[in-house]
Every structure is written in C-alpha cells, then in structure tokens.
Symmetry: C2
Subunit: 196 residues, 2 copies
Amino acid sequence: MDEGGVTEEEHEAMPPASRAIYFGSFLVTPQVFHTTAHSFALVNLKPLLPGHVLVCPKRQTPRFASLTPIETQDLFLTVQRVQRTLTRLYAATAFNVAIQDGEAAGQTVPHVHAHVIPRREGDMDKRGGGDKLYEMLEGEEGDVAASLREAGEAAELEGSGRGIRPDEGSRPARGEEEMRKEAEWLREEMMRDAEQ
Amino acid sequence: MDEGGVTEEEHEAMPPASRAIYFGSFLVTPQVFHTTAHSFALVNLKPLLPGHVLVCPKRQTPRFASLTPIETQDLFLTVQRVQRTLTRLYAATAFNVAIQDGEAAGQTVPHVHAHVIPRREGDMDKRGGGDKLYEMLEGEEGDVAASLREAGEAAELEGSGRGIRPDEGSRPARGEEEMRKEAEWLREEMMRDAEQ
C-alpha cells in the first residue's frame, strides 16, 4: 500500500480516516468508521437495510479459517462492539451476522468480511419478508464488488463476477460524500459508547 | 441441567456423548460430535446441504453480544476446526457461516448458534440457485425449533414459531439413529484431523 511515504510512526499518529485502508483491492478509507489492532468496520455502498455494515480483518485473506486465533477473536469482538452502537442508533432488536466464506458461497471480494445487519420486527414486511433479505444478501455480495468496481475505486479485482444480478441494480449506490458522513457519525457514536 | 448426580470430576472423565447437552431446551446429546471448553458442535435434524452443522456456546444465552471474549474466540476457533474436517469430508470449496442473532433475525431457538454450511460450485443448481439457500435457511431456522419440537425431544420452547414454513415440510427430518451415526463419524474424523 502506498501511504504517501510517511514513516510507521507518523502513520500510527494519523487519525484512522487518513490512513489508506483496502477492502480487497478497493480503497475504502472514507467508508471506515472503526479500527482495532486487527480489524476494521466500514459502511456499505449499498446497504440492504439501514445500518448494514461490514467488519473485516486488516490482513487481507480470502478465507475465514486462515485467520489466527487473535485475528478471529478481534474480528468478532469488533462485531459485538459495532452491534452495541447499531442497536442504539437503529433501535435494532436483532442482527444477521453472515460470512460468505469462499466463491462458491457467494463471496465476491476475496477478503474476509462479516455482514452485520440490524433487524427489527417487520423491517422486511414491505420488501417481501425476512426470506427476501437473504436473497438480497446473495445479490448484494455481487454488488459489493460490482459497485466498487463501477465506482472506479480500484482497477484490479480477482473474481468471476459471480452473483452479480442486474435486477438488484435498482438499489442505488450511494455517493462517497454520503458514506463519509455516515462513517463520521458512526465513528463518533462508537467513541461515545466506548467512553461509557 | 440434571447430569445424573455425577461429580464434576466424573463428568469431565465421561466421553462427550454420554454427557447431557442441551441446545436451548432440547436434549441434543446424540447429535453432538465435538466439544471444547466453551463450545459444542451438533449435526442438524434437517440439513440444507450435506454437512450442514451448528456450532454453539455451552453457556445458553440467546444473544451473540453476551458471549465473553473467551467464549467468542472459542466458538469461532471451533467453527474453523469443524470447517477443516468438513472441507475434507464433503470436498467443500466454501462455506456459509451465519448467525441469526435474535428473533427479529429469524432465530427460533434462543441459544446462540452458528450455521456452518459446506458449499461447492453448483451445489444449489438443481434447487433454485445459491439465493435459494438463504431462503431455505430462514425456513430452516423455523425447522430447527419446529422439528425438534415434533421429535418430542423437549417439552418447553420459548418462541413464537416464527419462520415455520409449511412448504419446507417436505424436507424430511432424520431419525435419531441416522444423526447418531453421522455424529459418531464426524467425531472420529475430527479426532483424526486433530492428531495431525
């Protein structure tokens, strides 16, 4: 990663938002709202429901089983901390937590990522019921890669384009400014919870 | 839990299969094929795909965020170990790992459980494609509780019966003997991998 020639020390002193963070081959720095020793959390280009975010290990590896015990624990403690803040902000009473671990499971960005989706009773009633969410998640996986590609945030992507569904194209991708604002808001709210 | 009046020491000395293990209010001892300090893994009454299993914390709690750091790490290291054996036995090239964390996310047994579903390219082609798996998972969650209820393995279940889909009823529940044999096989194969 090119970090503009800063030293390791300067890099550590930078606020998280000014460090280059990659999700697969995609530069997602403005979308990142939380970082830990081994993980980061980012807002989604096309959230399936409000507050739908992704949590990833910093080390880029496609498969879940290749995470070390420390990385594995850090990833899910991060999921739990993120859940705490999302529960408050989105009045969530439940969550879907899902990893598509490998291409044959619908993974399109070869970098482990846990979907964290806040849920409320009846939240999918107007969108075809709870089952539909899973269908959208499969489509969304395609969108994660396809949308980032469209957004031109990175040139190279390994992958077959599997799971890209034209019928999901109606879900609008958000602008970088909107995501940056959401990430900033979530970052502040995460810090508020951490202080308690 | 009634463990027949055995001492803690006697209990620890017992082979896993002879200890009473509960998934929610359901006695699932014959289905359990792996136990660790804080987790257990069980075969499924109605697997969506071959090798579909569940991994749970020993401590019965409905919500993921209430797991301690130790329990959280142990749960996912168990998932990783289970994946290793399932990869070999089912020629899996990928996995879906999913937690329905709370009722509004489709959870029907109020005891944290991670679905671990081995995947292979094209495995869902004859069953409606990969999207269909998610739909079935939502239905299956209902089945987890409904089937165990039907099987009469326990009397009490908290829950609304939410997510039970009559159209999924055609997927046959397996007999206890079949599950016991599968659990025994998986237990041996897990030990084989552990020895390496």
